[in-house]
Amino acid sequence: MATTVPEPPKIDLEPLPSDGSGKGGWGNLVPAGGELRRVKPSSPPPASTGIWVGLAAITMTFAAFTSALIVRQGASPDWQHFPLPPILYLDSLVIIASSLTLEIARRQIARFMVAEKTRAAAPARWLSITLCLGLLFVAGQTFAWLQLRSAGFGLASNISYSFFYVLTVAHATHLLGGLGGLVRVLGKLNHSVLRRSTLEATSLYWHFMGALWLYLLLLLWMKL
């Protein structure tokens, strides 16, 4: 662990090519009688593709919830409009801030990669701040749910409240996954080797959670 001796954290740079899988067909195609076709030398790391695949699935899930909300709202006149708990707006600032701190952490790590900085504590600290902001976000959501419930607006009180709880709980559940990813990145940064693809996939997921929250806030503000 790089705490006593200042040294850059071990980041797995682009490794040298080997004969393993993952050459991805981007290598030079052996001609069958024609000329060599030059293409990209390698495929992207699986984590980079995998995270986009995962985000596509999450997008479809929330698209389904959105269409259910729109259809259900139009199906019956029982939709009860209500103002969103104010803490949700504060929560939005928290999650935006967490994306900023994550970006700071990434840039700190990038500077280590080129040995511009030697202190190891800085990127880990910014990642920890991101984690704390994420936990603060979840705490804010929980406060909003409890506030509504204590005012008598539970899950089944009206369909608009049902959708509010479903959408925010679904988002918070996915965000917890993102928190798990951040914990994993912190662990690898401090104790072993952190791959760039791991860091970038985790960051992309976290930023997506922020963007998804802003979309949900807009949807709920418009519809509820």
Binding site: L16, G22, L29, V30, V53, R72, D78
Partner: protein, 594 residues
């Protein structure tokens, strides 16, 4: 530069029994686990169909021992009407999810996609292992419904609201039975998403040197296209199941309308949209049927090419057609809802793409038939079942043309015509694809050959039997025989009962014929003759260039390098009638894709 994460993620060769055979990270073991699960599910689903068919032919017949399965559902071993519907629901659910989605895609795909792409394993082996065990848990939860007091749900595998959402007041199994069903399917969705993630990233990122996308075999393309559909479709079914569970346990009103009175009691829900469930379900449901059939298309194409000793008329058009099927499948789902009460103008909007989707289906069929014409097809169990797949797909697909017309569908909806259509085009065809894949890849998976005589007997009996069972369904449907009825007491249905009896006898005999396959499978696994070499079918794709069975990292010390397209058969001037993809032999007269 490629990331070594694939290598770093590869575990060492496992040594403990649990790691080797139970919680394995090896895609080959996971594929076999999925196959075993699908086999068990198929037997369960088939037995359920027998129980249904016996009741349909002989309604008051006491099936010995049935009271042991359900004392309330079968007092005196005679099935109650509700229990018939419960069995029907579980038959459909188990077959569609745990057999047709699992075997062609998850079982064969997990085993062979990494090998055919030239990878050491899937890029996320832990997610892959989780995908199987999550699917297994889903199956356990589904089957557990048989053992709760009220039994499983009776709302059909489509679980239409409001019946599915009103709770126990809707009938036996509509309380806990529905919750277990929805929970099981929700869990299944998670397993499929994890699996699809691996399939997509394997195909895009894990191909070996020289393996471009167009050099992938058609089976790999089938799995890749299916995984994209699976990712997007199951991600919509999961929220639908969540909303359904909430209507049950939390008193919400997503799907239950206002002022609904059941058994004299007015339900507390209000404002729900029953049509909303149908939209959510069928947006998943139509891609799902293509998820069931597209892997079979890829597998069958692969098998036929190997046995014809020449490529298809157009490799590229076949891939584009499978892709077109996938894209169009999202636009046609409303054809399941023509008579649901949705805006009739929507019927035109869905009917048109439904007719358009017949175009890539027909192109695929014509490419198969055109490629077969004039070829000297090697006849073996695998190629016979591949031909049977085409036959079933055509027979079942043609009835789809009629169902695609809203005006005709008004008459045919919810009749046996629909049941005949989907059983042939999806159920039987996909099963034949599974059988074809089994006979074809058994030597590579186990190092032994299956018995050809038994395989051919299995084919003949299954082919004739399947037509005996499902062809009469079309006649029944046109005669007005409503589906999901447990007894035929109306005067226009009574004359059709002899047809049902014929179907029942055929179904039981065809089902018993599957014992030939099960015996062949198990016997050959342990006592079958050893495969003559690593490439008994003289195939060209990467699975045939590696050892039998493949080593832990699929290719041993030296990862393959691909020099050729996947189907270089009967090339003039070549040294043999087939050229392995990994062969460095230069071809003067190649049939290369450009």
């Amino acid at each position: 530069m490629h990331d070594r994460s694939a290598h770093a993620a590869q575990p060492g060769v496992p040594t403990s029994f649990l790691r080797k055979h139970v919680f394995s990270l090896d895609h080959k073991v996971i594929g076999k686990q999925y196959y075993a699960l699908a086999l068990v599910a198929a037997v369960v689903g088939m037995v359920l169909s027998w129980l249904m068919r016996i009741h349909l032919g002989w309604g008051s017949f006491a099936i010995p021992g049935l009271h042991l399965l359900s004392s309330t559902g079968a007092p005196g071993d005679v099935m109650t009407p509700e229990y018939y519907l419960q069995l029907m629901t579980m038959h459909g659910t188990i077959m569609v999810f745990f057999v047709l989605t699992t075997a062609p895609f998850a079982a064969f795909g997990n085993f062979f996609l990494p090998i055919q792409t030239g990878a050491e394993d899937m890029p996320f082996p832990h997610f892959n292992m989780m995908s199987f065990w999550v699917t297994f848990v889903a199956f356990v939860v589904m089957v557990a419904a048989f053992f709760v007091p009220d039994g499983p749900t009776l709302g059909g595998w489509t679980q239409y609201a409001p019946l599915s959402a009103v709770g126990a007041v809707g009938g036996p199994g509509q309380g806990l039975g529905v919750v277990l069903w929805a929970a099981s399917i929700g869990i299944f969705c998670i397993g499929q998403l994890l699996g699809s993630l691996n399939f997509i990233t394997t195909t895009l990122d894990m191909r070996c040197k020289g393996m471009s996308l167009m050099r992938l075999p058609l089976s790999a393309w089938g799995w890749f296209i299916t995984s994209i559909m699976g990712l997007t479709a199951f991600a919509v079914l999961m929220p639908a199941c969540i909303l359904l569970i909430l209507d049950h346990v939390a008193g919400t009103s997503f799907f239950v309308p206002s002022n609904l009175v059941i058994n004299g009691q007015i339900l507390p829900h209000s404002g729900g949209s029953t049509l909303l469930w149908q939209h959510l379900f069928w947006f998943f449901g139509h891609p799902e049927v293509y998820i069931a059939i597209v892997p079979g298309m890829g597998i069958v194409s692969h098998i036929l090419i190997t046995n014809m000793r020449r490529p298809m008329l157009s490799h590229r058009v076949l891939i584009y057609s499978m892709g077109a099927l996938a894209v169009l499948s999202y636009m046609v789902y409303g054809h399941h809802m023509f008579v649901s009460g949705m805006n009739p103008v929507s019927a035109i909007a869905f009917s048109f793409p439904t007719l358009v989707i017949t175009i890539p289906s027909t192109i695929v069929v014509l490419i198969w038939l055109g490629s077969l014409y004039g070829s000297k097809l090697r006849i073996n169990s695998a190629s016979l079942f591949a031909l049977g797949f085409i036959s079933m797909f055509i027979s079942g697909g043609v009835s789809g043309f009629f169902l695609a017309q809203p005006s005709l569908d008004i008459m045919l909806h919810a009749t046996y015509f629909v049941v005949g259509h989907f059983h042939l085009v999806m159920g039987v065809a996909a099963m034949f694809g599974i059988f074809a894949g089994t006979y074809f890849w058994f030597p590579k998976m186990t190092g032994r050959m299956m018995n050809e005589t038994l395989g051919k007997a299995h084919f003949i009996l299954s082919f004739i039997g399947a037509y005996c069972v499902f062809m009469p369904f079309h006649y029944l449907g046109m005669a007005g025989n409503v589906r999901r009825y447990q007894a035929f007491t109306d005067d226009y249905l009574i004359p059709l009962i002899p047809v049902h009896k014929f179907i029942t006898v055929s179904a039981i005999l065809t089902g018993l014929a599957q014992l030939i396959f099960v015996y062949n499978l198990i016997y050959s696994r342990f006592q079958g003759p050893r495969a003559p070499n690593d490439n008994p079918w003289e195939g060209t794709s990467l699975e045939w260039s590696t050892a039998t069975p493949p080593p832990h990292n699929n290719f041993g010390d030296q990862m393959p390098v691909v020099y050729h397209d996947p189907y270089q058969y009967s090339v003039e001037g070549a040294s043999a009638d087939y050229i392995l993809q990994t062969s460095p032999e230069k071809l003067t007269n190649p049939q290369e894709e450009k």
